[in-house]
């Protein structure tokens, strides 16, 4: 943002971002296109783009004169397009935009972020999609994934069900990567009688850079949606740092494990369902629910959700009063991300650090408490150590090899649709692949 003073100067001179301006000082004369300032906070440094393409910043002061040279030629910003022609030999694919880095581009003149909402804009950037499917784009929302709530999950579940019931062979959902694994878990639980691939994808490098992973992620996801026979929700992103193959990870077993790498998403306690490349070659790697031919039932969105559910972490010196807090706020469920096999501090030297009495008090008053592990990898247990038994005795439910975030999403889903009693019962039973009953030994593949 420019400072208030500068904004006033510009508006007085009728200068808008994108216009060509002249800046005169005692010793210098610079002409260029006025650029937006993306940094927060008012600045008195004017950024212009010179003819050679470089931007420079010139500090505004009383000894500087700004003049307008000419209007911007591109006030009506639009993306380049490639004509899309329906191909009768290809099936229909729904593409649902929700926001995030993928599917959006920056207009550097106005500084605005726009979504590629028309098939012909997307096809200009990723012309390969034209050969895979006839694509219908649904611009459902434009929300950064860290800003999403369960309302977004419900909207996505409904839009997906609608698209599939309207004849789409598969669905691709583009999503910000930060919380994509929460959404993928939510959709896995919410989509009832699913009989088609629902492929979530995103990108770790924005699509305005030539090295973006968005292009390959979109192509592989479209291939997955149109050519696989997986009747599940999953995440389709890079399998390694190379642009070779993507992996499709079950929606309830995926987790973002890196802040910035392309292959940030990993399957936890599970293998990927399959790998897929840009040409549509799919290699299945583990069991999955298959699309069944005779399936007549329409897919529906089970959209009940109880938002009064929380995820808390137990760690050395952690204060169990946190449970008290949630109880007082009317929370109905709590997932504890415990240590190791699912521990919380129990027989502590100082009594106030033990979680046991708080857990017991909460479960006694009807709150459902699930125990998972911050190890992420592996299964929790309610029996191995005395402290684990004490926690179970206090009423907590150990959640097998379910990821903490998945257990958290699941608990809200169960409470929203089945009521307290059934929810307590179903928490540690598999309903959407979130719990596996046996864990195969896995050898490193790389």
């Amino acid at each position: 943002m420019y400072s208030k003073e500068l904004q006033e100067v510009f508006s007085r001179l009728g200068i808008k971002v994108g216009d060509t301006i002249l800046i005169r000082s005692d010793s210098d004369l610079q002409q260029g296109i006025l650029m937006p300032r993306t940094e927060a906070g008012g600045s008195d440094i004017i950024v212009i783009k010179r003819k050679d393409g470089y931007n420079i910043g010139i500090k505004y002061s009383n000894s500087i004169k700004v003049e307008k040279v000419s209007e911007s030629t591109s006030h009506n910003f639009s993306f380049p397009k490639k004509e899309s022609r329906p191909n009768p030999s290809l099936g229909k694919m729904a593409m649902i935009y929700t926001g995030g880095t993928i599917g959006s581009k920056v207009d550097y003149v106005s500084g605005g972020v726009y979504m590629l909402t028309k098939p012909e804009e997307l096809l200009h950037d990723v012309p390969e999609l034209d050969q895979i499917a006839n694509i219908e784009i649904n611009e459902l929302m434009s929300v950064a994934s860290e800003d999403m709530s369960y309302h977004a999950w419900i909207k996505m579940a409904e839009a997906t069900a609608k698209a599939l019931n309207n004849g789409a062979k598969g669905v691709v959902i583009t999503h910000g990567t930060d919380t994509m694994h929460y959404t993928s878990a939510a959709l896995s639980f919410m989509l009832k009688d699913l009989n088609a691939p629902v492929v979530m994808t995103g990108s770790q490098r924005s699509s305005d850079r030539g090295s973006s992973d968005a292009f390959m992620n979109l192509i592989c996801s479209a291939q997955m949606a149109m050519k696989s026979d997986v009747a599940e929700v999953g995440i389709c992103m890079h399998g390694s740092s190379s642009d070779n193959t993507n992996i499709f990870i079950r929606g309830t077993k995926a987790r973002k494990m890196h802040t910035s790498r392309r292959d940030a998403f990993k399957p936890i306690n599970n293998l990927p369902i399959c790998s897929v490349d840009q040409k549509g070659k799919i290699t299945y790697l583990s069991d999955y629910r298959k699309v069944s031919e005779g399936h007549k039932q329409k897919v529906s969105a089970q959209i009940g959700y109880e938002p009064k559910v929380a995820l808390v972490k137990a760690y050395p010196n952690s204060d169990p009063e946190i449970i008290e807090y949630y109880l007082s706020k009317g929370y109905k469920g709590l997932i504890i991300e415990g240590t190791g096999l699912g521990h919380v501090p129990s027989q502590t030297e100082k009594k106030e650090y033990s979680w046991l009495s708080n857990v017991k008090k909460a479960t006694d008053s009807g709150m459902i408490i699930g125990a998972t592990s911050q190890c992420l990898y592996g299964r929790v247990s309610g029996t191995v150590y005395r402290n684990l038994r004490l926690l179970e005795d206090a009423g907590a439910i150990h959640c097998e090899d379910m990821l903490p975030e998945v257990a958290y999403v699941k608990l809200g889903f169960l409470l929203g649709n089945y009521g307290k009693e059934k929810a307590r019962d179903m928490l540690n039973k598999d309903i959407a692949g979130e719990i596996t009953h046996r864990t195969e030994f896995d050898f490193p593949t790389e």
Binding site: G53, S74, S211
Partner: protein, 622 residues
């Protein structure tokens, strides 16, 4: 070589872009080492890239061209000298302020203007040389001057940017790069196109190089150079155009000595192309752009190129170039013909090259009969030329389209191109890609602008030692313009300044020792990498009369490790100076024996006796 008026008469314009790697400890946007010696490859990743639209909406012609080549890039990753940032898996860290300071120092040395805020940009590159598909680059200064004699050549801009990666190999559609050097800070100095002759271009390149080496950071009484030295650490790009021609950029000249040769050849190339254009028009030449599948005619053909392609299910395409006969074979540079240019364009689609009718077709085992059939199929008579390309269908038609494009340009213009060295000895170049425009720049949104306050800039200038001061000082204290000039451009300058700052009155001896003796030892394989304080110790002994000038080289030869080591070497090799009364005695003794005292003593005590002192003594006695 022509005189200046000649270049004026052909409308010669020439500008330079000098790229010099900085010697900062870390890279420009991460903490990786800039020194990859002894580092090792720990793995590689494979990537694909595509052109994206630049900041102002237009897709740059050079980037869309590169991206039309469907290639994949392999990046070799190094242990110490590359990290996630270099392989485009982590956002850039804070900018290396040492590099920014160095850049500002150079900017002030050229008397250039500094913006109040430096804006890091992304310059799109899709030749794969950067895993992020862009190079981070920022303008640190503009409107400076390079003084050459009385003339001032305008410096239009000075950039601080990231080094690209080094190409390892190109095989089929895969290009492999080493990313150890990617991200090393690089300073780019651009002149305006007012350079008036190839010789002046060379002179300007030399002067800029010298200025970059001699402008340094003040440290005590010496200046620390902030540029890397050695092969590949400085590169010259030259832009050349003549009237009726166009701007062509020749990239990556490493040998400054051949800068003028490359420019002369580029002038020649453009002149020839202009001439060809004229003659093609006179001949009513035409390129209709049609290509015809000749696979059927050539399916039993035995020539290697065709057979290789057909055995893999490929095709042979041919095109007629009406009125072109004789032109494709016309030499436009040493060992380069118009046909080579057309072939370069075709190669961009991944094919090995073209066959054209101005070549000796016998070498492809094409019989007269087959050539007849080809001409017939293409409708080409003896005035016409034809080109053939054999490869898989997709690459073949892409290559043919590129080739036809280039042939068409021959009738219209000298195409604006970026060219690379084809043969360093002959000084000729080959087409690399179309000349990039300005629309491949967009802001580096991952890093912050760098505000340069006037206080900060003043402090940088205060901490700078400039070339002129250093050269002036050298000329004064050495009193020998030739040695001063040699010292100025020597890698030993810093060492010279260190020693002479600590031992007075021995400047010429220090300079001669470093420039001649040390280099001579290094050439014969003896490491003269002494600690600088050991050098100081040796020259101190000399200045105090403990050893002779001749003994200095002898001591260095023994590579002393410390001052006490020098003491030991002097003693054990009897290198102490003999002078005064002792020398007088020696002279007297030699005389007594009737010998030629000078010869007698010098032959035995060359390293111990100062020739001048001895001559003085002998003269005294006469």
């Amino acid at each position: 070589m022509h005189d200046k008026d000649y270049y004026k008469s052909i409308g010669f314009r020439c500008g330079l872009e000098i790229h010099q790697r900085l010697s900062t400890e870390h890279k420009l946007f991460c903490e990786c080492s800039t020194d990859s010696s002894g580092d090792r490859v720990i793995g590689s990743v494979e990537r694909r890239q595509r052109a994206v639209v630049g900041e102002l909406g237009a897709m740059d012609r050079s980037t869309s061209f590169e991206s039309s080549r469907n290639r994949s890039f392999v990046y070799n990753i190094f242990k110490r000298s590359s990290c996630l940032v270099d392989v485009d898996e982590e956002p850039p860290h804070h900018v290396n302020m040492h590099a920014v300071e160095a850049a500002l120092r150079f900017a002030s040395a050229f008397n250039a203007k500094i913006p109040d805020e430096i804006e890091p940009m992304r310059k799109e590159v899709v030749d794969g040389s950067d895993p992020s598909a862009f190079q981070r680059s920022m303008m640190v200064a503009y409107d400076g001057t390079l003084e050459i004699g009385k003339r001032g050549i305008p410096i239009t801009s000075i950039f601080l940017e990231e080094e690209s990666s080094g190409i390892v190999s190109t095989k089929d559609d895969t290009v492999t790069y080493n990313i150890d050097r990617i991200g090393i800070p690089l300073i780019e100095i651009d002149t305006d196109p007012s350079i008036s002759s190839p010789q002046e271009a060379k002179e300007a390149a030399l002067k800029i190089g010298l200025l970059l080496r001699l402008t340094g950071k003040k440290e005590g009484d010496t200046a620390v150079s902030e540029v890397q030295r050695g092969i590949g650490t400085i590169r010259q790009d030259v832009n050349v155009s003549i009237a009726g021609g166009t701007r062509v950029e020749i990239k990556g000249l490493q040998e400054i000595d051949s800068v003028d040769l490359f420019i002369e050849n580029e002038i020649e190339r453009q002149l020839r192309l202009i001439d060809i254009k004229k003659r093609l028009i006179e001949r009513h030449a035409q390129v209709d752009g049609k290509s015809i599948d000749l696979t059927e005619i050539l399916k039993h053909h035995d020539g290697k190129i065709v057979r290789d392609a057909l055995s893999k299910g490929g095709v042979v395409l041919g095109a007629r170039l009406k009125g072109f006969s004789g032109f494709l074979g016309m030499e436009i540079n040493p060992d380069r013909r118009l046909g080579s240019e057309v072939s370069d364009y075709a190669k961009m689609a991944g094919v090995r090259g073209i066959i054209h009718s101005d070549e000796d077709l016998g070498k492809y085992e094409l019989s007269e009969d087959t050539v007849m059939q080809i001409r017939q199929a293409l409708g080409a008579n003896s005035d016409d030329a034809f080109i053939l390309i054999a490869a898989d269908r997709q690459s073949c038609s892409k290559a043919m389209a590129h080739a036809i494009d280039r042939a068409r340009m021959a009738m219209a213009e000298v195409p604006p191109e970026t060219r690379a060295v084809a043969d360093a000895k002959k000084g000729n170049t080959r087409f690399m890609r179309p000349l990039p425009g300005g629309s491949r720049m967009y802001p580096e949104t991952d890093s912050e602008p760098i505000e340069i306050t006037s206080q900060f800039y003043e402090a940088v200038k205060k901490g700078t030692v400039y070339m002129q001061e250093r050269i002036r000082k050298l000329e004064k204290e050495l009193n020998n313009p030739q040695i001063a000039e040699q010292m100025a451009s020597s890698t030993k300058l810093m060492l010279y300044e260190y020693i002479t700052g600590r031992v007075k009155g021995v400047n010429l001896v220090v300079a001669a020792t470093l420039l001649e003796k040390v280099r001579e030892l290094e050439r014969s394989g003896i490491s003269a990498e002494l600690d600088r304080d050991t050098f100081v110790n040796i020259f101190k002994r000399y200045s105090e009369g403990e050893i002779t000038k001749a003994a200095i080289g002898e001591i260095i030869k023994y590579s002393p490790k410390s001052a006490s080591d020098v003491e030991r070497i002097v003693k054990s090799n009897e290198l102490e100076r003999i002078s005064g009364a002792k020398l007088k005695d020696m002279v007297a003794r030699a005389r007594k024996n009737g010998a030629d005292a000078m010869r007698e003593i010098m032959s035995k005590h060359r390293l111990n006796v100062d020739g001048e002192e001895l001559r003085g003594l002998i003269g005294d006695k006469k």
